[in-house]
Amino acid sequence: MWQALRSELQPLGLEVVTVGIDAAGAEACRPFIEAAQPEHPSLIDTTHRMSELFGVINIPNGVWIDEQGMITRPVEPASPHPPSDARPFQPMEGLPDHMNEVLDEASRIRVDGRYVEMLRDWAERGAESRYALRPDEVVERSRPRDRANAEGQANLELGAALWARGDERGAERHWREAHRLDPMNFTAKRQAWSLAVPDAGDFARYWQGPLPGREDEWPYATDWLSEVRSFGAEHYYPPIDA
């Protein structure tokens, strides 16, 4: 998705680096990367380093770094597409009801479409771009983090490490703790939910909630549909403070 924009902006001195975040490992990312055929660095983050080091709490997200290695915009929702008109959702034939419900809800999520224009402006004008922030603004606008959030991050990483070792129950225990300590970290939630119902076949990673009739087996306090419905899909991504 970012390759086209990269082709346009790379001659202006801007490089794109994409990072696939998944404790399930590189193979889970491979089909998407191979389909995108990136000419830019395309990396794999199995232990949620992007969250630890930069404060990524939902995806897709972008961070800008200038020629001297200074961050000029901290993490914020990033879409490679310009603004588009909302389309009413049409249920897809052959999909399980649950997946249609998820897609219906997801169709109401909006990513701020100004990101592409902002990125173009910065690629062309560098430090003169009105979107390039001062260092103190970058720090101030980076994600607030308290002791509980930081402890949630430690549990997120421990869960990923245990998952990689095949200890699924151990991973779930730490991820539950991560969700409790840092409820705003939606990547931590999606990560855990996406690995909780392997029996959902092709939809396993996207089901993100209990299987019908097997609600007792769901290991987490909440799930994607009930959370998004509770705060409203329109609030899924915060607006960009351009």
Binding site: G20, A78, A150
Partner: protein, 115 residues
């Protein structure tokens, strides 16, 4: 960052946390936090002592012999400084990539996930 022991080489601590250990203390960009003198000794870091000073939570998973050291909480923000931390991650084929190799260019790091 994940660790298997609470005493570790300075380079590993720096790579894992993004904080540099200098004579004046633990530093990230222009921000430096003084450390107790025994916290760094003979190229080794007393992780518990540094963690306490920087407000980094240390969570143990005893059965696996693992600890996770959470990020610092002194600054109250995910970025204590605007200076980008080093990021070292593999690509699909396991080749290690360093963010710092792109110095001299503008960079946008985009995070995504297959779920």
């Amino acid at each position: 960052m994940l660790l298997e022991r609470l005493r570790m080489p300075v380079e590993d601590f720096e790579a894992g946390t993004g904080w540099s250990l200098k004579p004046q203390g633990a530093c990230r960009g222009e921000v430096c936090v003084p450390l107790p003198s025994a916290a760094v000794d003979d190229g080794q870091v007393d992780v518990t002592a540094v963690a306490e000073r920087l407000g980094m939570p240390l969570v143990e998973e005893a059965d696996a012999g693992l600890w996770a050291l959470g990020p610092e909480t002194l600054s109250g923000h995910a970025l204590p400084s605007a200076e980008a931390p080093e990021l070292v991650l593999p690509d699909l084929d396991g080749n290690e990539f360093r963010l710092s190799s792109l110095r001299g260019q503008k960079v946008v790091i985009v995070s995504w996930a297959p779920y």
